[in-house]
């Protein structure tokens, strides 16, 4: 039982990180119909931005984390919005899908060629000391990850539901045409979504890299988990992405312990197939009415 609780907590910690990546993915889809096949790489790159700041320019650790988040917002937010998505969005979904696939290859290869093909250790904010409560030992680092991720999610929910800008963003997501008629600056709202996505991906990156090391190929798994979390939870719901992320984190940890490490990666995929078979709108999703 204590084993189970330990696995549950560490599962929630990684799950919260997955949720961050999945939320960004869902937001992009909602506001601009962008399926970002480079989402996994968006979670891989910021850790390397921090490593570059630390190792090449000698910036202190905490400052380089902040720099990494800001640089990600600029590169993976603003530049992504205007250089890649902007010219393609009017051409329909396929060119954009292809372009983000190419972008994922570009990011992966750039990190491999310009930084390193080896996995890099990444420092953690909190020490790895174990805390034992009632026989259950959890590391402080894990609790820290869980706390940071949850606070980010709560802040985001508050922003989306409680502020004027957040509600304008939701209006843009639900119906851009009506939002524009009502005077919502739709273009700016879409840019905000890209900024938020980049910031969430950067947070996820900085939280996950101390656990799984930073490596150029990490994006493949992370991206896949982000898609699966978004679909399992419900493609059109932010809270769906949160639930999906947490669920996959926990299942992943339990599967690694109780089923087999060789097929650990298969668990989210099987979950995806089950959801598509039995509850295609996602666990928390609403049915989307089709136009035809």
């Amino acid at each position: 039982m204590t084993d189970f609780l330990q696995l549950l907590i560490s599962g929630l910690a990684t799950g919260a990180i997955y949720a961050l990546a999945a939320i960004g993915f869902t937001l992009l889809w909602q506001t601009s119909q962008t399926i970002n096949f480079a989402q996994g790489e968006f979670v891989m790159v910021p850790a390397f931005l921090a490593l570059i700041a630390m190792r090449w320019f000698g910036v202190p650790f905490v400052a380089s984390l902040v720099l990494a988040i800001l640089a990600s917002m600029l590169l993976l937010g603003v530049a992504f919005r205007y250089i890649i998505v902007g010219p393609l969005i009017r051409r329909g979904v396929l060119p954009l899908v292809i372009s983000t696939i190419a972008l994922s290859i570009l990011l992966k290869e750039s990190v491999k060629d310009f930084y390193s093909a080896e996995a890099q250790t990444f420092p953690t904010l909190l020490p790895d000391t174990l805390i034992t409560v009632a026989g259950v030992s959890v590391s402080l680092a894990q609790l820290g990850v869980l706390a940071v991720a949850l606070v980010t999610i709560v802040l985001l929910q508050w922003f989306l539901a409680g502020t004027r800008t957040g509600r304008q963003m939701q209006a843009t997501a639900q119906n851009p045409t009506v939002a524009r008629i009502l005077g919502v600056p739709v273009e700016r709202m879409i840019l905000y979504t890209f900024l938020i996505n980049a910031a969430l991906a950067a947070m996820a990156s900085l939280l996950v890299s101390p656990i799984y090391l930073a490596k150029f190929s990490n994006g493949e798994t992370l991206g896949l988990i982000a898609f699966v979390a978004a679909i399992v939870g419900g493609f059109n719901q932010v809270r769906g992405a949160i639930a999906g992320g947490l669920l996959i984190g926990v299942l992943d940890n339990l599967a690694a312990a109780y089923v087999s490490t060789a097929y650990r990666q298969a668990i989210p995929l099987i979950l995806l197939v089950l959801v598509i078979l039995f509850r295609p709108q996602g666990l928390l999703g609403r049915k989307e009415e089709r136009a035809v």
Partner: protein, 322 residues
């Protein structure tokens, strides 16, 4: 172009390709013929083009996204390698590869296409990773990371295809047949239904075209092309391991079709040619190759989303007008 001219051009191309590895000096033409490696690359191009034709059918004609073509190629390759090693004739293995991947295509596509347009992309993505895990982990049947070696090239009607030129001709003949079948399908009422779907789905549906059934069958057929390409790939390379069937190569299949020109008949051949030949030309900058390719794809998407064939036909049309 009329039917007879396109058939004539196709036949001419076929003859030229068949002569590519032959030394023509004996016939008074100063052409030495491709060497062993050149012939191998040309055969690889044909095999890749078969799989790419399948992707083109799914992407260009049915408007779906498939990220599983390398997995289907892998299924065909492993099936062929395993059963021909057990003594089953190649013809049977080839047919079985096509049939199995067709059935898997139906099974994957049916639930995914019920839901939403892009779900097929995610389901095929998941399927590719799942297949790769099976290829890597199930050592008792796939050999795991060590792979399967010494896959024999088949014999065709008592004619051994061990020789690289003979095997090339064999693959060329199969490619020609499969190209013709696809060409015929695209021009049949079945194929016309697709054009209708692509141009105006609402009207197509109101005319009684069952959109989902058509899309599902196209996906299954395109996947079967992948399986059959895999069945030829195994005896071509004579050694298979999981790496060419991972997610990365599946994504590359999708890219090559769009680069060539999705929805155009020649697109897959052009795209496959670039995907197979570019790494050979850029051998000196091996590490940069994928980087350059990715940038190329992004630039193409921004300026010429019709791909190379689309761009060329636009240029030709402009010239014809002026």
């Amino acid at each position: 172009m009329s039917t007879s001219t396109s058939l004539l051009i196709g036949l001419l191309l076929l003859v030229l390709l068949a002569l590519a590895p032959v030394d023509l000096n004996d016939f008074g033409v100063p052409y030495p013929g491709l060497r062993r490696y050149g012939t191998y690359i040309l055969t690889l191009w044909l095999v890749t083009a078969i799989a790419a034709m399948g992707v083109n059918l799914i992407v260009g004609y049915a408007g779906q996204e498939t990220l599983a073509q390398a997995a289907f190629v892998g299924i065909g390759a492993y099936l062929t390698a395993i059963v021909t090693k057990a003594g089953v004739p190649f013809g049977v293995a080839f047919a079985a590869s096509g049939l199995l991947t067709f059935v898997i295509g139906i099974a994957l596509g049916f639930p995914a296409l019920r839901v939403q347009k892009h779900y097929l992309a995610f389901v095929t993505l998941a399927f590719t990773v799942l297949c790769w895990l099976v290829f890597r982990n199930e050592q008792w049947i796939t050999g795991g990371v060590m792979g399967i070696r010494d896959i024999e090239r088949p014999t065709f009607l008592g004619w051994p295809l061990r020789n690289h030129i003979r095997f090339y001709w064999f693959v060329l003949a199969i490619t020609a047949i499969m190209t013709f079948v696809l060409w015929w399908i695209v021009r049949s009422p079945w194929g016309r239904a697709f054009t209708a779907l692509r141009e105006n789905p609402l009207r197509a549906e109101s005319l009684g075209i069952d959109v989902r059934l058509y899309t599902l069958l196209t996906f299954a057929l395109g996947s079967a092309y992948g399986g059959m390409a895999g069945s030829l790939y195994a005896p071509l390379v004579e050694f298979i391991d999981p790496s060419p069937f991972a997610l990365g190569p599946s994504l590359l299949f999708m890219l090559m079709v769009v680069i060539g020109g999705s929805g155009t008949f020649l697109g897959p051949f052009v795209g496959a040619g670039i995907a197979v030949l570019l790494p050979e030309w850029l051998r000196a900058w091996e590490t940069w190759y994928l980087l350059i390719y990715a940038v190329l794809v992004m630039v193409m998407m921004a300026f010429f989303p019709g791909g190379i064939v689309g761009l060329l036909s636009r240029l030709v049309a402009r010239k014809a007008r002026s």
